[in-house]
Every structure is written in structure tokens, then in C-alpha cells.
């Protein structure tokens, strides 16, 4: 099967306008008859469900949490990019497009990225109109800050809670449509399969997580907005419930999976403290604007960080990358931290951490404040106090969170940080219209693979989620549904619904009947360890092959020895988790297969066999300038399809941040 990305013809900066000008429309009377299912209510799902409800479609939205407001977009901290150029520092749609393609290490589709940059400005307008309280300057206008991988200030933010504020904006728009009767909300529901009729997606089987019963839901189109799959690593910054199940079921029903091995390891997370650890917590990348990263110059230095004098500190990012310094992209910063720790320069009890130090920033802001307020002879303490207030206003909630978790005060002693799994650039393969290889089945936000290539820039995930939901899908979905106006609602008594529901229930019974000895959690931990050790920040052929063997073994063990307490038809979180872990195990194998196939380094994917002399990732454009789209052919069987990438505007070069 040849992959058609359906990229519109014409100049890069005209494609989207031209597409919108010629796309098929659905008249309002017909919209009322067309039903759409949205799975997931994060930024992509909530914005899509709200916008489609406003247009007049009949929407059903599903989330596994107790309320759509809890989706994990809520935890995004730092900000959202937009090419507004409010700071007059030379930003433009082109620059945002360019930075994103380059930041993604030339593995993203140019046309999608350009569209993303174009609609970015409307997102900010929309959010402000909804009452999202972005940070403002004294003049009453919006404030911006800079983020990794860029040299302009284009990031809009609301303290360290930008994701929360944007999600609550989208959630309020969604709830408004619920109130108007345009959207029906199904909370505590999990999608467990796609229903296909004549090759098209026509609905889903969902399980009510409160009473455990399965339900059949019809729609003319299904949108998966179910987020990323970082929890395949067990420890990640994702929420405990974040999972791949919806996307994976779609994959098994014919949707190709794009670039599954592209994982973002975020450089600034709170390090693991012990075996009990259930998740990792991010410290926003925005902290790198003011924090300086360092390790001691001597190995195994056990002094307190505040006792190590300036000349004995190695600010290794500033040393290696003078142009970008502490603001290099995430993949580069993560690998540099791993390199220092692997060499024995790590700090803290586990020695798997580096320092993120705010002392200089506090004193710098303090001196400015002292100058502003006319305090002539401010002593060090006064300057510190004044500077601390500025830092507190910018990052207060992050500093508090750090202190709660570690018991250390980051105003007084540097934070300890280490990279952790944070985001997955891979996801369901979609064309320009966000449609998967199954007609009528779409993927939005982190659930698709489309815009970030091999590495996502900071503050771009929120941008993509909202772009897809508010400004892309309302147009592209119409192009499909315009041909569906003659399809009347299909009864959920149709054979396809009955058969699919039966399969779902059989799988649930099978899981419950294993009645083995090992807990679901213990399998998840084992999978995570295999993935982190062999398909994590650095990967090689031998390790990946071993990982595939180990995962296959783990899968057998899981299906013969997992223990799930309770019953099917009741509130049973262990059963929910078991289904998700079973899917993660299968995904893990595909990720390793993809990582093995891609014998080059690019962005977050670092193959040890492919690096430059000074240890930077080395791409191989001649052989790997493609999107890997994997087709599932049953148990552990996949076929690789390649979507060739051509770069008309941003010509690939070795990325340099030096």
C-alpha cells in the first residue's frame, strides 16, 4: 500500500489557505445528522469536541478520568509557542516553522509544520477570548519568555501552569457544548476497540469503568485524541492513567503506527529516589532560562553544592554549546547530562543527577530590582531577597513542587535534575488531514506522529494539540463527512458492533481467568526497565535485539501468570491497568523494532553506532529520510511502509547549537 500524505500542491505558505479555500463543506442541516466520536479530552480532544459541537455536529466525547478537566495536558508547565512577534525580536511564521523542522532534526513533514506555525497565532487569540489568564506585563499586554532551541521570545505562559489554564479553557468550551446539548460526555469510560464497517471506522466499543459493562457507540467518524505512550517506560512524567490502548487498538485494526521509537527524554526532571517510585516529575524547561546546569569538575565530588567554588564547577552546556548554552534543545541537553553522569561526574546519592542552579539569576534580578527601587547600598542578603521575589513570581509553583518532593529548598541549594521520558513524537500515522490509514479514523495531538519529527521543541505540544483541535480538524473532517451525508446512522445491532463487542469481552474474561501470581504493576515495571535500559536515551543493535526477545518472553509470562483481583462488572482499576499494560508490552516490541530499523541517530533517537567524533547525533539522510509507518499483521508481525520526506524549504544540515 502506497502512503499518500495528501499534501496540497502549491507554495508552502499557500497550501493551507488554498486547502481551506477548496475543501468540501457540509451544510448546517446535514451537520446535525452527522455523528462524531472523540476519544480523550486533553487539549486536542476537548478543543476538537467543543469546536465540532459549535459547528453543529453531534459529538460524543470519552475520557477515562472522572472528569474531562483531568486529562494530562493539565500538567504541562512551561508554555505555548506562537509566532505573534509581540516582542519585536524578529519572529515570524517562517521562523517558527523553520525552528520546528530543524528542532525535529528533519524528520517532520514540512507542510504540516508550516500549517502549525500559521495557526499558532489564532490559538493565543482564542484562548485569551475564553478567559485564559496568561501572564501580562504592567502595560496590560501579554508577556513572553524564551524556550529551548530558539533565539526569540515566543512562548506565552501562565506561571508554571500553562497546560492547566489552556486545558481549563478548552474544558469550559467543551462543557458549554455539553450544556447546549451538542456534545454528550462519557467520563470514566475507556475505549477498548474501533468498530469498522466496509473498511471505514464507524464507532467504538467503550467500557464503563464504574460498572465494568461494555457499550457500543456509533459515529460517522472517530477522532483519537488519546495522548502519548511514554508510560511504556513505566517511569515517565505522564499521568498514571496515560496509556496507548486507544491508539493501539486502532493500530491493530489497520491504522499504521508512525515512528514509534521517537521518544523525548526531557532533561530537567526530579531524579528517581528509590524502587518505590511510581512516576517522575518534570521541572519545566522554562527553568533553563534562568537556571545554569553544572556538575563538579572532579569525579565523585561529595561536597555540598554550595561548598563547591565557581572555578571547580563545569557548566558543561555553556562549555559545549556556547551559542545556545543552557537553552539547547531537549535531546541535546538530555544526552549531555547522561554523558556527564556516565563519566562519573553525577551528583546526589545515586550519582545520577546534575545541578540546576538559580543563584546567579537570583542575584542578577536582585541587583536590577535594587537599582529600580533606588536602594543604593543593598547588601548581598537584600539583593538575594529582592531577586528571590522575582524568581518566585516566575517559577514559584515549580520551586514549591520541588521542595515538597525532595524536602530541599531550591532557592538556597541547586535543584538536582536528571532526564526522564516525557513525550512521544511517534504515534498513529496521519495524512495532512489528520486521517489515519483507516478511513474515518483520525488522530490528533500527541496521539499522532505528525509535527515534531524526531524531537519536539519546548512549548510546542500545547500548540499542536490546540492547533489540531481548534483549527485543523474542523476543516479537514468536513472534507470526509461531506461524502457521508447519505450514510444514515448505523444501528449498533449491526453484526460488526456485536462481533467487536464480543471480542472485547472475551479478552476481558481471558485476562481475569489467568489468575496467576504476579501483579500487573510488577509486569509494567519489568517492561519499563527493559525499555529504559535498551530503548532509552542510547540504543544499539545488540541491546535492541535482546530487548525484543525479552519483551516477547515477558508477554508470554504476562498472559500466563498475571493476577487480577476482583470482577469484570465492577469498578476494577487493576483490570483497567492490566489491559493497558498488555498493550504497552506489544507496543514496546514495535518501538524496539523501529529503533533497530532506523540505523541512524536523529533527534531523541540516538543509535550509538551513528555519532560524530564529538558524540553528537549523526543523521543519515541518504538512507533514513522517511517516516517509518508500521502496519500490523497480527501477533508480533509488522510490515514497514516508508513515507519519503522531501525538504523544499528547510534544507537538512547537521544541527548545530554550538
Amino acid at each position: 500500500m502506497a502512503l499518500d500524505a495528501k499534501i496540497p500542491k502549491g507554495e508552502m505558505d499557500k497550501k493551507w489557505t488554498d486547502y481551506k479555500g477548496h475543501v468540501k463543506l457540509v451544510n448546517p442541516a446535514n451537520k446535525r445528522k452527522l455523528e462524531v466520536i472523540v476519544v480523550g479530552t486533553g487539549l486536542a480532544g476537548a478543543s476538537a469536541a467543543a469546536s465540532l459541537g459549535e459547528l453543529g455536529y453531534k459529538v460524543k466525547a470519552f475520557c477515562f478520568q472522572d472528569s474531562p478537566r483531568r486529562a494530562h495536558s493539565i500538567a504541562a508547565q512551561g508554555g505555548i509557542n506562537a509566532a505573534k512577534n509581540y516582542q519585536n525580536d524578529g519572529d515570524s511564521v517562517f521562523r517558527l516553522f523553520y525552528d520546528t523542522v530543524k528542532g525535529g532534526d528533519y524528520r517532520a513533514r514540512e507542510a504540516n509544520v508550516h500549517r502549525l506555525a500559521e495557526v499558532s497565532t489564532s490559538i493565543i487569540d482564542q484562548c485569551v477570548a475564553q478567559g485564559v489568564p496568561f501572564a501580562r506585563e504592567y502595560g496590560g499586554l501579554l508577556s513572553n519568555r524564551s524556550f529551548g532551541g530558539t533565539q526569540v521570545q515566543r512562548t506565552f505562559y501562565a506561571a508554571g501552569q500553562t497546560g492547566q489554564q489552556l486545558l481549563l479553557g478548552a474544558y469550559s468550551a467543551l462543557e458549554r457544548q455539553v450544556a447546549l446539548g451538542n456534545v454528550k460526555m462519557y467520563s470514566r469510560h475507556e475505549m477498548l476497540d474501533i468498530v469498522k464497517i466496509d473498511g471505514k471506522a464507524r464507532g467504538i466499543i467503550a467500557r464503563n469503568l464504574v460498572n465494568g459493562k461494555t457499550e457500543r457507540h456509533f459515529a460517522h467518524a472517530v477522532l483519537l485524541c488519546s495522548g502519548g505512550y511514554g508510560n511504556v517506560f513505566y517511569l515517565s512524567t505522564n499521568a498514571m492513567g496515560s496509556n496507548v490502548t486507544a491508539a493501539w487498538k486502532a493500530h491493530k485494526k489497520g491504522a499504521f503506527f508512525g515512528n514509534p521509537c521517537f521518544t523525548q527524554i526531557h532533561p530537567t526532571c526530579i531524579p528517581v529516589s528509590g524502587d518505590h517510585q511510581s512516576k517522575l516529575t518534570l521541572m519545566s524547561e522554562s527553568l533553563r532560562n534562568d537556571g545554569r546546569i553544572w556538575v563538579p569538575k572532579q569525579k565523585n565530588d561529595n561536597r555540598k553544592p554550595t561548598d563547591i567554588p565557581e572555578e571547580e564547577r563545569d557548566y558543561y552546556l555553556e562549555r559545549r554549546y556556547p551559542a545556545f548554552g543552557n537553552l539547547v534543545p531537549r535531546d541535546v541537553a538530555s544526552r549531555a547530562a547522561k554523558e556527564r553522569c556516565d563519566e562519573g561526574y553525577g551528583v546526589g546519592t545515586t550519582k545520577m543527577a546534575v545541578y540546576l542552579d538559580f543563584k546567579d539569576a537570583i542575584m542578577r534580578y536582585g541587583r536590577t530590582e535594587a537599582g529600580k527601587t533606588g536602594i543604593a547600598n543593598a547588601d548581598e542578603n537584600k539583593i538575594f531577597e529582592l531577586g528571590k521575589q522575582v524568581v518566585e513570581e516566575k517559577y514559584g509553583n515549580l520551586f514549591e513542587m520541588y521542595e515538597k518532593i525532595t524536602g530541599e529548598n531550591p532557592y538556597l541549594t541547586p535543584m538536582r535534575i536528571y532526564p526522564a521520558v516525557h513525550y512521544t513524537m511517534g504515534g498513529l500515522w496521519v495524512d495532512y488531514e489528520l486521517q489515519t490509514t483507516v478511513p474515518g479514523l483520525y488522530a490528533l495531538g500527541e496521539a499522532n506522529f505528525s509535527d515534531h519529527g524526531a524531537n519536539r521543541l519546548g512549548a510546542s505540544a500545547l500548540m499542536q494539540g490546540l492547533a489540531d483541535g481548534y483549527f485543523v480538524i474542523p476543516y479537514t473532517l468536513g472534507n470526509y463527512l461531506a461524502d457521508e451525508i447519505r450514510t444514515s446512522s448505523i444501528s449498533t445491532d449491526h453484526d460488526a458492533f456485536i462481533q467487536t463487542e464480543k471480542e472485547v469481552n472475551e479478552r476481558l474474561s481471558k485476562l481475569m481467568n489467568i489468575k496467576g501470581k504476579q501483579t500487573v504493576e510488577s509486569f509494567h515495571k519489568k517492561l519499563g526497565k527493559i525499555m529504559w535500559d535498551k530503548c532509552g536515551m542510547a540504543r544499539n543493535e545488540q541491546g535492541l535485539k535482546q530487548a525484543i526477545d525479552e519483551i516477547r518472553q515477558l508477554k508470554q509470562e504476562f498472559w500466563s501468570d498475571v493476577r487480577i483481583p476482583g470482577e469484570i462488572n465492577e469498578f476494577n482499576p487493576e483490570l483497567d491497568k492490566a489491559g493497558r499494560v498488555a498493550d504497552f508490552i506489544e507496543l514496546g516490541e514495535l518501538m524496539c523494532l523501529d529503533a533497530l530499523d532506523r540505523n541512524e541517530s536523529c533527534g531523541g533517537h540516538f543509535r550509538e553506532e551513528s555519532q560524530t567524533e564529538d558524540g553528537e547525533a549523526k543523521r543519515d539522510d541518504d538512507n533514513f529520510s522517511y517516516v517509518a509507518a508500521w502496519q500490523n499483521n497480527g501477533d508480533s508481525q509488522w510490515t514497514l511502509h516508508k513515507e519519503g520526506l522531501s525538504f523544499e524549504i528547510v534544507k537538512p544540515t547537521q544541527r548545530s547549537y554550538k
Binding site: D66, A71, G131, H276, E521, F571
Partner: protein
């Protein structure tokens, strides 16, 4: 920080579903590290329960970084436990010492029926938002984001109110089971912003009406909600809610 291990006794509310009667069960938990989070301690207990062939304790949780608002435990008589401005998931075991007995209950409020064990149904909060907790602007209708400057103080105050995570601690801790802090935070956020002005009156009236319909109690100004709020939402938002309600009541005609 000094690390230490501890042995504890947990008394946990167990309730099969909303039809059945619940009761406390007592569990010893040993060798708990002071570095664990409270929920990780429950994870340890649950793993043990499953291995012994018993049902694990059901509890709501998701982000485990204090922002999604899903976790909801009443610990030793306090919503989210002993630390101020903190969620259960961010509570760490260094708050306890060896030999402690810890009592864990679900949120208790007529408007939050128990689903199972420590899990409650908070969909009443969603319905309050549906009644008016939004600005009616369709996608694509917005003017340029900088077209309307907003006083920084108003913007900051709106943000402070908008920081509410919708966990329900305010309700659980209030002797009247009042949701005034939750409603006040949303009404304040939108009333402080020029974008929220056109619907200011209908919003407050409708949200209050829905709040009453859901069975939440009234506010008698004990300020327990503010004291227990994990995000430090100020009771001044309740004052603003009352002011908005009064103004709306005086100026709104029956339409």
C-alpha cells in the same frame, strides 16, 4: 534530607459500591521510606493485598504532581492530609513517623456519592461549570490577543482564582458541604476579565442555582475551605461571588 523507614497502622474506609455500607479496615504497613509519596505507600499496601489474594484499595489519582485534581483522600481528619497547600499525591511520608496510625477516608459530602472505597463521584462540579463557567466564544471568533489590555493586577488575580484544580477538598472539609469556594473561584476569574463581562450576571445566577440543585450547602464563613485548599484559593473569591450575585440579583430582569 535525612531518610528513615517506618512502620505504620492504616485505618482505611472500605466500601464495595454506592449501594453497600462501608466500614474501616485496619492494615499494618511496614518498612515505608520517608521519601515515598503517600500514594506510593498505598501502592505498596495494594501490591501486598493483591499478592495475599485480597482486593486492593480503590482510590482516584492520575497526574501525581498536584495539578489534575483527581486524588481526594481525607487523611487524619484533613482533606489531603497534614501539609498546607498540598494535594494527597504530593504529600510525602516524611510527614509521618514510625508507629503512627493514619486514618484514611473518602471525601464525605451529599453531593459527592462514594463510588468505591476512597473514590467519589464529583460530576456535580462538571454540571456547575456547564451552568455557566465559561465565556461564550466559538472557535475562530476571537480578536487579536493584545487588542484588549488587561490590568496586570486583575490578570494576576484572575489567574490565582483560575488555579483551582477542582478536587473538592473545599467541599469535603466544609461542615456545610458548601461549594462556594469552587464556584467563587470560577465566577471571580471570569468576572475579573473584560472578556467575561457580557455574561457576568447570568453566569453567577445560573452557577449558584446549579450549586443549590446539586445539594451543596451554604457558606457560614468558617474559612475551612481556604485553609484546606491545596492551591491556596482565597476566600476573597467567595466575597466576590456574593457581590456578583447581589449585583446580578438587583439588576437582572426576568428574561
Amino acid at each position: 534530607m535525612e531518610h528513615y523507614n517506618m512502620n505504620l497502622t492504616l485505618k482505611v474506609w472500605r466500601q464495595k459500591n454506592n449501594q453497600s455500607k462501608g466500614k474501616f479496615e485496619t492494615y499494618p504497613v511496614n518498612n515505608i521510606s520517608s521519601e515515598m509519596s503517600f500514594l506510593e505507600m498505598i501502592d505498596v499496601l495494594n501490591e501486598k493485598l493483591i499478592e495475599e489474594g485480597n482486593e486492593p484499595i480503590a482510590f482516584d489519582h492520575d497526574c501525581r504532581e498536584g495539578i489534575c485534581g483527581m486524588c481526594s483522600m481525607f487523611i487524619n481528619g484533613q482533606a489531603h492530609g497534614p501539609w498546607q497547600q498540598n494535594t494527597t499525591c504530593q504529600l510525602h511520608m516524611r510527614a509521618f513517623k514510625d508507629g503512627d496510625t493514619i486514618v484514611v477516608e473518602p471525601w464525605r459530602s451529599a453531593a459527592f456519592p462514594v463510588v468505591k472505597d476512597l473514590v467519589v463521584d464529583r460530576s456535580s462540579f462538571d454540571r456547575i461549570i456547564q451552568a455557566g463557567g465559561y465565556i461564550s466564544v466559538n472557535t475562530g471568533n476571537a480578536v487579536d490577543a493584545n487588542a484588549i489590555p488587561i490590568d496586570k493586577k486583575d490578570a494576576d488575580d484572575a489567574f490565582m482564582a483560575a488555579a483551582c484544580i477542582g478536587c473538592g477538598a473545599c467541599v469535603a472539609t466544609c461542615k456545610n458541604g458548601s461549594a462556594m469556594l469552587f464556584v467563587g473561584a470560577k465566577v471571580s476569574q471570569l468576572a475579573l476579565l473584560p472578556q467575561g463581562a457580557p455574561e457576568k450576571e447570568s453566569r453567577v445566577l445560573n452557577m449558584i442555582a446549579q450549586m443549590d440543585k446539586e445539594g451543596f450547602g451554604n457558606c457560614t464563613n468558617t474559612y475551612a475551605c481556604e485553609a484546606e485548599c491545596p492551591k491556596g484559593i482565597s476566600v476573597s473569591n467567595i466575597a466576590r461571588l456574593n457581590a456578583e450575585y447581589l449585583k446580578a440579583g438587583l439588576t437582572t430582569e426576568e428574561k
